[in-house]
Symmetry: C3
């Protein structure tokens, strides 16, 4: 089986945690192709992992298995799940780490943060409860190695999701930071992610902005940016553009916007249309 | 040959050193699967490399070749060796970097730090001396690329270990930091490793502790921890548990124990049973 | 097709940029072997990317495709190119990032920094202009994902370079920092690269030095080093040797020469023969 499994974790690059997961996977399916998405998710930061996963997963071949382990509740009673969408499979703790990925597939969230899954052809979600697909003994502190990795490997061999546990009709999610409309055509949004270049990824997409963006002004960290540019290289100084994941992005030509503006994830951006 | 070769080095991720080793390997065996264990071993830190290797190697499929290059003596008269155990092959400088891995296979250490290999079925060690399996000319500063990588690649094609050099019956090792028993049921152990989460891995295994761990107290950095918990998520503040590599571990829920306690590798931990 | 594609970028390891490129490649050629050269090139540092690429590319199997994306001009009118040499293919922006690689293949540089390609059997260069091999829509900020990655993947499937655009006979290059001869057998060279160990790679090769190196003195950061040693382990303190990429290198046994000397890329080194 020429399957692809991606890995997204907060395990860092210094320890052997990621390697042990790969070793376990290769022991079950030696023909799998393994691709790292990121292992430097901030420790225990479910929001960061959820965002990074969502910016990468759609670029992989159909039926890629996306394995995500940012799991501060490992060994407690949080559930582990498989989510099969029409295009991909996800293997993850049921702790909100699939929130961005789930957005097209959920109806509404209840007061406990659980969101009902829409009935979509080709989609299902199952718990991971069947020990026959696990590595034993299971360490209570490293389900990535002993549960998630072997489950992803067996999934890549064609084992169907419901062999691993019971169907579920809702998954844990957190509220995505959507833009909010204020009076007079003002939109408030928040910074979702700061990338390695210091570019600020803002939680508003091209489709949420007016078609004519020439009159836009963007207020961020006390600075006003007028209009959008199309690339990092066509404008001097601070600039705003629609980034490669379709979000509004604040950047500094050949520089680090986050450092210059002193901003971070969760900070506010005001857009005037 | 669907072989797996893992790589553990102190070469870091910024330079091309690791990539050149992979290029050399793929030129000899294009079908090999390459897996990074870690390349951010502290520069020249043989103990750190030996520990990280030992926490990863056993999770790979049988006959995986583990290539280890932390080699401050490169180009000097330190030997290079292949170690074949009943399950894995190791290719490394003979400088102690296999010390943790060798533990089940050695008898006793002489005063020069050389340990005799036990006679175990399926096990042998050989020097690496046969230039026909090397890349030439050999750089005296980069045996990883010119000797270790091509040797591992040829080994993955089925060349037997003794084709690369002469059998040896002892290997260089360092003394593993074993726990020591003090009077009144007190055990002293030392910190072996600080992982990327700041968890302190202590040189004492579950099997060295009493079965009833409810009465254990652990003194570390001036703080007393009472009893063991089973996961990072079930207890608040500083906690102790048996980690995923079977060692005692000191952690801080959603935090960095090493930073809070100001501790590092080699520091002492006192366990009262 | 058992092709190898290497990746060299300044995208860092925290974000999903590199992973999306790999996902796109695997969607076009699932059988390709992907190898990271480095993703921690200093942001927008074309010289650093060019150097790192040049130290790695020659160790890969013939016909490896080297994909390089350090691209501060992404989306502007800088060209994108494929360079086919007798041994390798390169896919990159035409911004100088191939300067070190091009050295054996160019004649002279014009005043705009464009260098004419020599007529060498098996060599050609082409622009990348044919959208049928791209991912659409093309993000103006991420040609790595939408143009370079799919072009490299199609190239790995055997599509000839001239299918992607038009032949070109010159490429953008920067002046390589060659050593300069001063009176009295004095040579001035500059630091090309500081590696992860803190070793200083100097822009002068073994072939530029006299055969008898015992009388060499090297002045660097106010310190005089006499003669060359052959390895990092045979001399105490600061030492000079010919490194594994054939450049002069200044190192500190078991230490970080760059930190101790306070030197960086571009700083001067004086060699007296």
């Amino acid at each position: 089986m020429n399957a692809v499994i991606t890995l997204t974790t907060d395990f860092g690059l210094a320890d052997s945690y990621v390697a042990t997961m790969k070793g376990v996977i290769l022991g079950i399916n030696p023909d799998v192709t393994l691709v790292d998405i990121s292992h430097t998710v901030s420790p225990q930061d479910i929001h960061d992992a959820a965002f990074i996963l969502s910016t990468a997963c759609d670029y992989f071949p159909p039926r890629t298995i996306h394995l995500v382990v940012t799991d501060p509740g490992v060994g407690t009673n949080r559930r582990a799940v498989i989510l099969r969408t029409p295009v991909y499979d996800f293997v993850a703790p049921d702790n909100g780490v699939l929130s961005f990925v789930l957005e097209p597939f959920i109806d509404r969230m209840d007061k406990n943060g659980r969101a009902g899954l829409r009935s979509v052809t080709g989609m299902k979600a199952c718990t991971i409860e069947e020990p026959r697909y696990w590595r034993t003994p299971v360490s209570p502190t490293f389900h990535g190695r002993d549960i998630f990795a072997p489950v992803a490997a067996h999934l890549s061999l064609g084992v169907p999701p419901d062999a691993f546990g019971k169907p579920v009709d809702s998954l844990q999610t957190f509220t995505l930071p959507h833009p909010s409309s204020l009076p007079d055509g003002v939109i408030s949004a928040e910074i979702l992610h700061v990338d390695g270049f210091g570019n600020l990824v803002v939680g508003i997409k091209a489709s949420d902005l007016p078609e004519d963006t020439t009159k836009l002004t963007i207020e961020v960290g006390g600075v006003i940016i007028r209009g959008l540019t199309s690339t990092y290289g066509t404008s001097e100084g601070l600039l705003a553009l629609i980034g490669s994941s379709d979000y509004l992005e604040i950047a500094l030509k050949n520089g680090n916007a986050a450092a210059v503006l002193g901003l971070q994830v969760g900070d506010n951006v005001i857009i005037r249309c």
